[in-house]
């Protein structure tokens, strides 16, 4: 049965020996929407994403992907990781086409698509380079093409741009928004940066400070699209939203400071 909820977490908890990362999380990610999860560092945002991606099973609760219970790897999703996740022994081109190769598509058949994506992420002159020869921003672009080329219905992103400088980051965010706007993909985006979350998303879910974090609130972001990420941060509506969400998030950030100091 098709469902307009791409990812549904129902009462999901995850415990590791000695501590509970997230507790009783219920969250719906509507199909085709861009939802961000924000929270203080160490609140289990990545754990949440890994469970939705099927990389680790929840300790309690259930996960549904487009209405079907998830078991094993989430085959309808792509995942952009926070850390470098490219295969260092494969060239840019081979990294980009990796997902196609895993699906048994021969290199000559995927050549056109590969060209297309290499051009799209602006790496025309680097297709035979290895990841260590690229800058951090370029590696992220390869990762983006690698995730997107297999055309997943859902894309999970775990602070994919955290390691980049402000300007590169802004460019990458714009590229992600453009990519997303061209398709009907569902994005679940994890960040600790509330500005980034509001600027990109349709909805922002706020997690409490860990351990045993829960969802404090889900805030709709009614800023019009397409958005200009350069100017949006001075938009009065943006500032309103920021103030509202920050009031709640601030408490959690302070708690997390108190716990770690």
């Amino acid at each position: 049965m098709p469902s307009d909820i791409a990812v549904r977490l129902s009462g999901v908890s995850k415990s590791f020996p000695g501590y509970t990362a997230v507790s009783a999380i219920s969250l719906d990610v509507p199909a085709g929407k861009f939802l961000s999860v924000v929270g203080p560092s160490g609140c289990g945002k990545t754990t949440l994403l890994n469970m939705a991606a099927g990389l680790m099973p929840p300790s309690e609760g259930s996960i549904e992907i487009f209405g079907a219970p998830l078991s094993g790897i989430n085959r309808r999703a792509g995942y952009m990781f926070q850390q470098d996740s490219l295969l260092p022994w494969k060239t840019v081109r081979d990294n980009i086409t990796l997902g196609l190769q895993f699906r048994g598509i021969a290199p000559n058949e995927s050549a056109e698509q590969a060209e297309n994506w290499i051009r799209r992420v602006g790496l025309d002159h680097f297709s035979h380079h290895y990841p260590h020869q690229l800058s951090g921003g370029m590696r992220k672009r390869v990762a983006m093409a690698q995730t997107w080329i297999v055309d997943p219905d859902i894309v999970f992103m775990d602070e994919p741009f955290a390691a980049l400088d402000v300007h590169t980051r802004l460019r990458m965010e714009t590229e992600i928004l453009n990519l997303w706007a061209e398709t009907s993909k569902t994005v679940m985006f994890v960040t600790h940066d509330l500005e980034e979350a509001i600027a990109l998303s349709d909805e922002v879910a706020v997690l409490s400070a860990g351990p045993a974090s829960r969802i404090i609130g889900v805030y709709p972001v009614d800023l019009s699209r397409p958005r200009n990420l350069i100017d949006i941060k001075t938009d009065p509506r943006f500032l309103d939203l920021y103030r509202t969400i920050w009031t709640d998030l601030k408490q959690e950030v302070l708690k997390s400071y108190a716990r770690t100091s």
């Binding site: 890994n50 990389l55 850390q83 295969l87 895993f102 990841p131």
Partner: protein, 263 residues
């Protein structure tokens, strides 16, 4: 182990070698060292030339190389296979752990007599000895290499739809290759040492046999000639492995191309 790019350093290195040889030669000629025990570089060189000119060396060299290559190939195959299997199956790894430790703690030379009894004086007793040496080096490195695969890269490949087989081929093998290669450098040298020791203890052919024959008649020059040939062979084989490594690991940043001393 790579050739220094700096030409003047190469000149210095050659000068050092020449100086040492000259000191040896001069020392023996001046009577500082006893010729009987130390021979002379010039005698050794002419003996090596003579061995090659007469062609008597070939059968020994070929025997030693065949033994070394066989023990290397068999040892690497078994080592890589066992390393992968145990790295992927935790139960087996834990099960075999104490026995592998015991087996590895045994000095391999003591196995030579038993292998001689089991496999006779021919090449197989030497190959068996070589295999026991190569296997453990390659096994431990492969095991480590597979275990230390970056989990993020592994997860990324899984999210992109890799099956277990594809994970092994595209992620685990390339990732373990760095470790396996560092073990190959060491194990090719050890393979040659092992088979030469085996030949020394009992054989009818091979460089080790040649050296032990020379030793038997107090022919120091013959012993040194055998050593010289062995050293050149080990260096040549090592540089072959190095070339292969550079080709297969060309994706690596140049500065971390070699990781040695792990065994």
């Amino acid at each position: 182990m790579r050739a220094p790019r700096d030409r003047s350093m190469l000149a210095w290195q050659l000068a050092l070698g020449a100086a040492m040889l000259a000191a040896w030669e001069g020392g023996v000629r001046a009577g500082v060292f006893d010729k009987f025990f130390f021979s002379r570089p010039s005698d050794i060189a002419s003996r090596v030339a003579q061995l090659f000119a007469a062609g008597t060396i070939w059968v020994h060299l070929a025997t030693t190389l065949i033994e070394a290559i066989l023990s290397f190939l068999i040892g690497v195959t078994l080592g890589v296979a066992a390393g992968f299997l145990l790295a992927r199956r935790r139960f087996l790894a834990d099960l075999f752990d104490p026995y592998l430790r015991v087996a590895n703690s045994l000095p391999r030379v003591v196995l030579a007599p038993i292998f001689l009894l089991w496999f006779g004086l021919g090449i197989w007793s030497k190959v068996a000895l070589g295999v026991t040496v190569v296997f453990f080096i390659v096994f431990f490195n492969t095991f480590q290499g597979v275990r230390e695969v970056d989990p993020v890269i592994l997860n990324n490949a899984r999210m992109l739809g890799a099956s277990e087989k594809q994970l092994i081929r595209h992620v685990l093998i390339p990732s373990a290759l760095t470790w396996i290669f560092s073990s190959l450098h060491i194990s090719i040298g050890f393979a040659i040492i092992a088979v030469v020791v085996g030949e020394y203890l009992g054989a009818a052919k091979g460089i080790g046999y040649m050296i032990s024959q020379a030793e038997g008649v107090f022919d120091t020059t013959g012993v040194f000639a055998g050593m010289t040939i062995l050293a050149v062979v080990v260096l040549a084989v090592g540089s072959l492995v190095g070339n292969l490594e550079r080709r297969l690991l060309r994706w690596k940043p140049a500065h971390s191309n070699t990781r040695e001393g792990v065994s």
